[in-house]
Point group: C2
Chain length 423, copies 2
Amino acid sequence: MSDQRRVVIIGGGFGGLTAAKRLRRTAVQITLVDQRNHHLFQPLLYQVATAALNPADIATPIRSVLSSQRNVEVLLDRATGIDRVAKKVILAGGELTYDYLVIGTGATHSYFGHPEWAENAPGLKSIEDALEIRRRVLLAYEAAEREATSDQAPWLTFVVVGGGPTGVELAGALAEISRHTLSRDFRHIDPADAKVILLEGEDRVLPVYPPSLSQKAKRQLQGLGVEVRTGRRVTAIDREGVSIGDERIEARTVLWAAGVQASPLARALDVPLDSAGRVLVREDLTVPGDDAVFVIGDLAAVTQDDGTFVPGVAPSAIQEGAHTADNIRRLIRGQPTKPFRYWNKGSLATIGRAAGVADLGRLRLSGAVAWLAWLMIHIFFLIGFRNRVLVLIQWAWSYLTYQRGARLITGAPELQLPDRGDH
Amino acid sequence: MSDQRRVVIIGGGFGGLTAAKRLRRTAVQITLVDQRNHHLFQPLLYQVATAALNPADIATPIRSVLSSQRNVEVLLDRATGIDRVAKKVILAGGELTYDYLVIGTGATHSYFGHPEWAENAPGLKSIEDALEIRRRVLLAYEAAEREATSDQAPWLTFVVVGGGPTGVELAGALAEISRHTLSRDFRHIDPADAKVILLEGEDRVLPVYPPSLSQKAKRQLQGLGVEVRTGRRVTAIDREGVSIGDERIEARTVLWAAGVQASPLARALDVPLDSAGRVLVREDLTVPGDDAVFVIGDLAAVTQDDGTFVPGVAPSAIQEGAHTADNIRRLIRGQPTKPFRYWNKGSLATIGRAAGVADLGRLRLSGAVAWLAWLMIHIFFLIGFRNRVLVLIQWAWSYLTYQRGARLITGAPELQLPDRGDH
């Protein structure tokens, strides 16, 4: 036992979990460290934020995913530092020595140098984030219902900052909630009066997609009632709304889907980072000058032959995790590592009910076909058979009835609502 | 419109919701006030606390339950006072005038004069309570896994205070988690070593059931590995455990299922209360000296012909809500109210997987039959078809695999775990 190599994996996301599973039959001792007890299927997190799915539908305990793999130990802890000389990971509650280290701690929100915006424009990275967004969105309608008619508009204005896949998906879902889900539930407001505004700094939404699909996404969003505004950068966010230069949008609910930055653990490595704080890894995903430390997933800046970076999506993290496991096996056998090559299987985004866009290389889909492809792929990759069945049922239900099954306002110790208007 | 009587209902629990729905065809203007946006199916709350069900499976937005009933307005607010002279309800954010007032704000935990116990022994009344209990239970295993072997025992000791239905159900579920759900997930502990201790002050568990069923419940609990200790009263609870007189139980997880006390709104009525703070209502469920104010559900102390009180369970709240709606209709028509008669349909409690007890008058069931009866009845009364399907699937899954699908640790901003032991 004790002469087996010790592999420490930090982060139980798509990359870390794939690396651990791929080492199933290798004679190594693996410790997977995560500060959460669950693997999170982040591509569906916006469905929790918009009350369609439950947290447990898209999250699975890391322990239970790996329970039958006896060469893995799962440790709930937070890595705070890395001592590459002593080959040690410093944890909040102890330390771990390693022979090979795999870091996949992902990314967090970035407010472009305005951390004070966070309070009024929550982002979407964790279950807690999603529940906080759900709470704010649902409470905004409750507040509007209470207000005098003249004061309802800011409560019924929802601004999504950032027109990437998350922003597009959030905006589409918010529009559907207002038009369909809540349509009969209130007495003093018409939820269909709600305004959903999607702001994107570039000149089109989904800027990493081909322009023709950006155009289709925009039209589908507009069809749902979303106001799409591109080429405009937010200059201020406060409790009452958003400023874009001289223009002002009064909105009590602002959601952030614009910037991400790498997890701060990258800085502990003391190696060159890119502007988003990601580690500029070598071809084989190791950090410069250290053959024992691999960085994968959203934390890694992986340069491709054409000079661009590998995109920060789940499939690339999965491929990098698998490749790193293979490279660790090669190193143990005394063989050289192999360079990583990203295989782009395409991109998909959904825009509300039965609408979406898909860029699958030569094949470009939009509308209901893209939505169906998105649905199938996402359900297929959800971890755990039970989750797949439940998610499918909840979607079938939402699809048939326009209802969203998880419309709970929880977690707030005290309600902060306006006084009741004169009804 | 304006000459219609105004009915204000405070509380969207079983009683309040039933009263509102029963007045569907009556020409009144109803306002239902609740400080939560959801109706909670409390009998299944312990299933959320023990990671088997999701919050949204047992909670439904009050608005969506009543969305098609056009004579109801739902208001998210907290009632802070009642002015019976001016016929007004004082809310945190405004006030409401009424012609008839129905109060069903239920009960909360009571720590028998030891409010300081609350911090270390959470009770189970809300979604937030259930998620906090789930967090503590799951974190206790994580902490044990990290500790040196000699320090694991207090983390693996779970004390449930109170042997009524909630305590019995919680203890049974906790035992199953340790024996089955987590059995293969850890490397440094055997979850089956966990000790679940159920403490009851009376001389038997389920003291309101017939003694023969208490006996059977005790045996079924013991069969699951629960240590049942009756006739013992807790004298102290702190961060490290529980004291019972001179005896000390070291336990990092203590759950409170012992005392309840009526919601503080009862005191705002300025009428006689019983020792648990409940309103001693008249035969027709009105408060003494006021024909316009009804109190129902767990907030009401309803004396029966034999001198005992109507039990504080969902069926009595439902019956009281319906009866009150009928009495309000009678008053509007100028007729006298009728006295309330409780129809006891029986009591059911479940004790883990395929075990339980049922007291259905002459019919007394135990074991798998009681469990099946419990399952059917609870699923039948769950509000919303979607919830029923989802709950049934999750139970089928849990039953077949012993897994619990909602094993998420969420909500804690910072982990507080012991340093890692010497493994």
